[in-house]
């Protein structure tokens, strides 16, 4: 992760988080560990909870706690109650002494990093007393940003949050390239199915869905796209994808991948007409895109873990549907999440944005804010530099041309 490693030296020198407490809710992976160490190098005390009950890599969590002294509250395979309890503990901050761990301290975080919005939500609903101290934070995923915008619209968001997932660079690298690649990786690892010649249905043609669709095509699949947004549907169509309503795609698809950020994209009426052996996978952040409850009630019997992360739902009529990763985000559960290069950029943007926020949060009103464009460009430039790629700079003449309205043809 050359970007984060490069920032490590800079943050150690500049210490942008000196004396600040940061509470983070992220997938506990090796890449997250590097981010957390970077924040610490920048002077922060960090507490960390998992942003998904299944995605924690326990060895990483242990290493963070034992080797780097980070307050980690995460374990793979916890239930819902434990999951939220861990978030509350992370909000409380690093334990300041024996017996105090687990109690919401009055200290609380100065800055937050969230991934899906569960931490910010818990902070507002379960630990509102901590709100006055919070300067602001970053949200890592599109789903979380959507949730924050709804909070902000209701006037419920108490501090500025930067939508770190919503930069041009991040969408390009993280969603399109990273999710695109790792979702396919997850499906292949879970099922070992040959994609060439298969009909793959990708629900949603946003940055992630487009990446998944293009890569599935690269494997030789016939790809069908479903969309609700006419602009994206037209984009998919012009890129040569077949665009159908899910009702028409459901009976022909062999692999279904949801990447919408919406709910019940695959529902009972679709399950009812699917082909025997159809594979269902979700690439969206939440486990609501495939209606797993409907699937369970629709099925005559369920055979768990016929392969790791593959549950076979026997519909009792000779058809079996294969649900991957229990309908949770398949690239993280069945594969290893994004490749490190992708998370390097995503977390690099987040770290730069957080450092900027540490200085400038007071100037921002509560609400959802974009990452400043120069931070996005700075991150992209740092990645290029670490890859040894040089680019052109505008000449003074080009700069003045760009800024002039007097020069025509």
């Amino acid at each position: 992760m050359p970007l984060l490693t490069g920032l490590m030296q800079r943050f150690s020198r500049e210490r942008p988080f000196d004396g600040l407490a940061i509470a983070a809710c992220l997938h506990i992976t090796a890449e997250t560990a590097v981010l957390v160490r970077l924040l610490r190098a920048g002077g922060a005390s960090v507490s960390l909870a998992a942003s998904n009950p299944l995605s924690t890599q326990d060895d990483i969590a242990a290493a963070l706690a034992v080797r780097y002294g980070i307050a980690v509250f995460a374990r793979a395979g916890v239930d819902r109650r434990a999951y939220y309890r861990h978030i509350e503990l992370a909000l409380a901050g690093p334990p300041t002494g024996a017996g105090q761990a687990g109690q919401l301290s009055q200290a609380g975080p100065d800055l937050v990093i969230d991934d899906g919005g569960d931490l910010v939500n818990t902070l507002h609903t379960q630990a509102a007393a901590l709100l006055p101290k919070v300067k602001g934070g970053c949200e890592s995923t599109t789903s979380g940003v959507l949730r924050l915008r709804r909070m902000a619209a209701e006037g419920a968001l108490a501090f500025p949050m930067i939508a770190a997932s919503d930069t041009a660079t991040k969408r390009m690298v993280d969603n399109t390239s990273g999710t695109g690649q790792s979702v396919i990786d997850g499906i292949l690892r879970a099922t070992n199915t040959l994609l060439a010649g298969k009909t793959v249905v990708v629900a949603g043609f946003g940055a992630s869905g487009r990446g998944v669709a293009e890569r599935a095509r690269g494997f030789g699949a016939q790809v069908i796209v479903t969309e609700v947004d006419p602009v994206r549907a037209l984009d998919a169509s012009l890129r040569g994808f077949r665009v159908l309503p899910m009702a028409e795609a459901a009976p022909v698809g062999e692999v279904f991948i949801t990447a919408t950020g919406s709910v019940d994209v695959i529902a009972t009426e679709h399950l009812a007409v699917m082909r025997d052996g159809a594979i269902l996978a979700n690439a969206g952040h939440f486990d609501v895109e495939i209606d797993v409850r409907a699937l369970a009630s629709f099925a005559a019997s369920v055979h768990r873990d016929v392969r790791p992360h593959v549950d076979a739902y026997d519909l009792g009529d000779g058809r079996t549907l294969l649900l991957l990763a229990e309908g949770r985000v398949v690239n993280l559960v069945a594969a290893e999440g994004h490749p490190p290069e992708v998370m390097d950029l995503a977390f690099g943007i987040e770290a730069l944005a957080l450092a900027w926020l540490a200085l400038n949060a007071g100037k921002l009103p509560a609400g959802v804010h974009e990452v400043p464009a120069d931070i996005d460009a700075e991150a992209a430039g740092l990645v290029l530099a670490t890859a040894g790629t040089s680019i052109d700079a505008l000449t003074p003449a080009q700069l003045s041309y760009r800024e002039s309205w007097r020069i025509g043809s």
């Binding site: 010649g197 030789g220 016939q222 169509s237 012009l238 890129r239 040569g240 077949r242």
Partner: protein
């Protein structure tokens, strides 16, 4: 008419300057031809060769002709299709780089766009007639017409006369018989002498190769032949990469429809169909393939294409391309069922893949010409289909056929084959040969620099390990590329 009075017959010599400019552009895009021109210039291996060429008289062919001349050959040329001549290219070859339209100093060409069948066979005979000699001693053929003419001439001379046409003979066959009848009357023994003088033929295309193998099997082949078509650097490149380029070019020039988002049906997934499907997809079309061969059908499916029957999608597809090498693929009934302004075109060699005769006979159908090579056929129910190039090769009819770089591969094979046959006549027995693999590899090698390709060289140990020499050939004869 006699060749003595007509050293050339082309449409308009004043087009030569434009033709020369296009030839110069093409030379840059034909690095293989230019490389053999340079390689053989000092040794002049074709000195003494009298080559009659029968091949589409295009700008690229002009570079071929001038390459043959540059390495020692005398050349006379006709086209192998009544429509395919580019008149400016023909004019430029006749005028030559050092001549003027008033004082042409180039090479005799007998070809223009839009010949009648009579004119076409006049041109063939003119190209095969070398005043003061027994005729050509080499043939460079595309489709086999020049070879056929010599063989039939010699055959009828042996038989003592040209037969009368049968009632079911094609119009073209009647014309050929008439020409040969006149020829035998004017110059008895001409074709027997020519066949004897000819050291061999190099044949460009599948159709001509097919004829040669039939003659070899029947024992009627009169001189050795090299099958250039089946060089890997010819058929695989020309069919796949050439059509990949020129299909889209033809559709764009003919219709200018946005291809992105359209549903395109490609009939046939051989080398041509593969190239077509790839380029349509590259433009953003959703491509559906039809096939009769389960291997090609499975290939298409594994490449991610939907494979359907024409009937499945006839009402929904926007663009139909036939690339099968078979007849009656797109029928009038199909066209009657298509969407309004569906586009129909053929990129297979012959014009029988789309049933144009059936379409013309469809009750109430009306043809409205939009522009040259683009017709809308309107049905009584009000819907129309756009047919490109009257069902003939749309990449040639609506665009300019294969691009220079692709033709450089094909034509470099031709030049090397001509040199082989002319200089190593004894090594090529009566029969049909393909170029040895090391020459196929040489053709490819000559095109690498232009593309900035850096080839890796085998070590001696690596070469030994796979049982080849460091310089090749690298593959067995069975290898399919």
């Amino acid at each position: 008419m006699s060749a003595d009075q007509l050293p050339y017959r082309v449409a308009d010599l004043s087009l030569a300057a434009f033709g020369r400019k296009e030839i110069q552009l093409a030379e840059h895009e034909m690095p293989g031809l230019m490389a053999v021109r340079e390689e053989y210039a000092p040794s002049q291996p074709l000195r003494g060769a009298r080559i009659t060429g029968s091949l589409h008289m295009t700008v690229q062919t002009a570079v071929l002709i001038e390459t043959l001349a540059a390495i020692g050959a005398q050349v006379r040329w006709a086209s192998c299709n009544i429509f395919s001549t580019q008149d400016h290219a023909a004019a430029a070859v006749v005028v030559g780089p050092d001549g003027t339209p008033d004082d042409p100093k180039g090479i005799p060409v007998f070809a223009w766009k839009g010949e009648t069948l009579e004119e076409y066979w006049d041109c063939a005979e003119l190209a095969l007639t070398w005043p003061g000699t027994d005729g050509p001693n080499m043939i460079l053929d595309d489709g086999g017409d020049a070879t056929l003419y010599v063989h039939k001439g010699a055959e009828y001379e042996q038989a003592g006369g040209v037969p009368s046409p049968a009632s079911d003979d094609s119009e073209e066959w009647v014309v050929i018989l008439d020409h040969l009848r006149n020829s035998l009357a004017d110059h008895p023994g001409k074709w027997t002498a020519a066949a004897k003088a000819i050291k061999g033929v190099t044949e460009e295309t599948t159709t001509g190769v097919h004829r040669l193998y039939e003659m070899a099997r029947a024992g009627t082949l009169l001189f050795p032949a090299i099958n250039v078509n089946d060089s890997v650097t010819k058929s695989k490149f020309d069919n796949k990469y050439g059509c990949r380029h020129s299909l889209i070019d033809g559709i764009n020039r003919g219709t200018d429809v946005l291809i992105g988002g359209k549903v395109a049906l490609v009939c046939g997934y051989g080398d041509v169909g593969k190239g077509c499907a790839e380029s349509l997809r590259g433009q953003g079309a959703r491509v559906i393939v039809t096939e009769v061969d389960p291997i090609c059908a499975l290939q298409a499916a594994m490449d991610g294409y939907q494979v359907a029957t024409l009937e499945d999608v006839v009402e929904t597809a926007d663009i139909f391309v036939s690339a099968t090498g078979n007849r009656d693929v797109i029928t009038a009934t199909h066209m009657s069922q298509m969407k309004h302004q569906a586009i129909v075109g053929n990129i297979g060699h012959f014009d029988n893949e789309i049933d144009m005769a059936g379409l013309a006979k469809w009750p109430g159908v009306r043809r409205e010409n939009i522009k040259p090579q683009v017709d809308e056929w309107l049905f009584e129910d009000g819907h129309g289909v756009i047919v490109l190039s009257e069902g003939r090769l749309l990449n040639l009819g609506n665009a300019t056929g294969h691009p220079s770089f692709v033709m450089s591969n094909s034509f470099t094979n031709q030049v090397i084959a001509q040199v082989e046959l002319f200089t190593k006549t004894d090594e090529y027995t009566l029969g049909v040969h393909v170029l040895p693999k090391h020459l196929d590899e040489k053709v490819a090698r000559l095109h690498l620099d232009a593309l900035g390709v850096r080839l890796t060289e085998l070590t001696k140990e690596q070469a030994d390990y796979i049982g080849v020499t460091v310089d090749g050939p690298y593959k067995s004869e069975q290898y399919r590329y």
